[in-house]
């Protein structure tokens, strides 16, 4: 899973699915004009074997879904429940300060 996340293109594909879940290969490839369709397919295969993306067939098309469960498990592994509130407060502070021009 860490290997899957270590690549910028794969994080870009996850970002695309986070914005709009259930995209097809064609739609994902359109968002990565620097890559061939085959290149996108290879990256998707890595994400699928890491469990981060789950493919589903809908009619004749294959759609790709972002699976948040492994990310949640990583979060739970290192984040004690007592520290969650403080961490969230700091992240919220960062986003509030950084959204100002």
């Amino acid at each position: 899973m860490f290997k899957a996340l270590a690549d910028g293109t794969r994080r870009h594909l996850l970002d695309a699915l986070y914005r709009r879940d259930g995209l097809t290969l064609g739609e994902l490839a359109a968002g990565c004009p620097e890559l061939t369709r085959f290149g996108v397919m290879k990256h998707l295969a890595v994400l699928e074997s890491a469990g981060l993306v789950v493919p589903r067939r809908v009619g004749r098309e294959k759609h790709h879904y972002l699976n948040p469960v492994p990310i949640r498990q990583i979060h739970d592994r290192w984040m004690s429940k007592y520290r969650r509130r403080t961490t969230k407060a700091l992240i919220d502070l960062k986003s509030r300060l950084e959204e100002r021009p």
């Binding site: 809908v58 699976n67 948040p68 469960v69």
Partner: protein, 140 residues
């Protein structure tokens, strides 16, 4: 045919029969489903409900398909939130596949486009918490 809105998948070291029991037996669901007793063991056409410890009803619906220990489809109407309560029922399916000494559990949620209140509740840690705890419970 429109696709699902959310797909969650988790691998759990257990058998399909054991996993099915953990999903459908109210005495087991309370161990990982925010303390709630879920009555999802009935056949297609029966009602199901989820009640928290003090007896408050917080989710209700109908069983649409029940094929133990492989597939369960239910309508899902979340009542624990003012907005969600007024929304149309959504649809959840649980799919169990054996893979060696593990099971792959896939949970698919449909109909959230028309139910933003329910979407908010299930996507801000709802399903991920339940599935992570279910795994912890069964593998303990």
């Amino acid at each position: 045919m429109s696709g699902p809105d959310h797909v969650y998948q988790i691998r759990i070291r257990t058998t399909p029969e054991r996993l099915w029991a953990a999903i459908t037996d109210p005495e087991e669901t309370r161990r990982y489903y925010f303390g709630a007793r879920n009555t999802m063991g009935g056949p297609a056409g029966s009602r199901w409900e989820s009640r928290v410890e003090d007896g408050t009803l917080f989710i209700e619906g109908e069983i649409l398909e029940s094929d133990p220990p492989r597939r369960l489809v239910q309508t899902f109407h979340y009542l624990g939130d003012e907005t969600a309560r007024t929304e149309a029922a959504t649809r959840v399916s649980w799919e169990i596949e054996r893979d060696g000494d593990e099971c792959v559990l896939t949970l698919v949620h449909h109909g959230l486009e028309a139910a933003p209140g329910t979407r908010r509740v299930v996507s801000t840690g709802g399903w991920t918490t339940i599935l992570a705890r279910l795994k912890e419970y069964l593998e303990a």
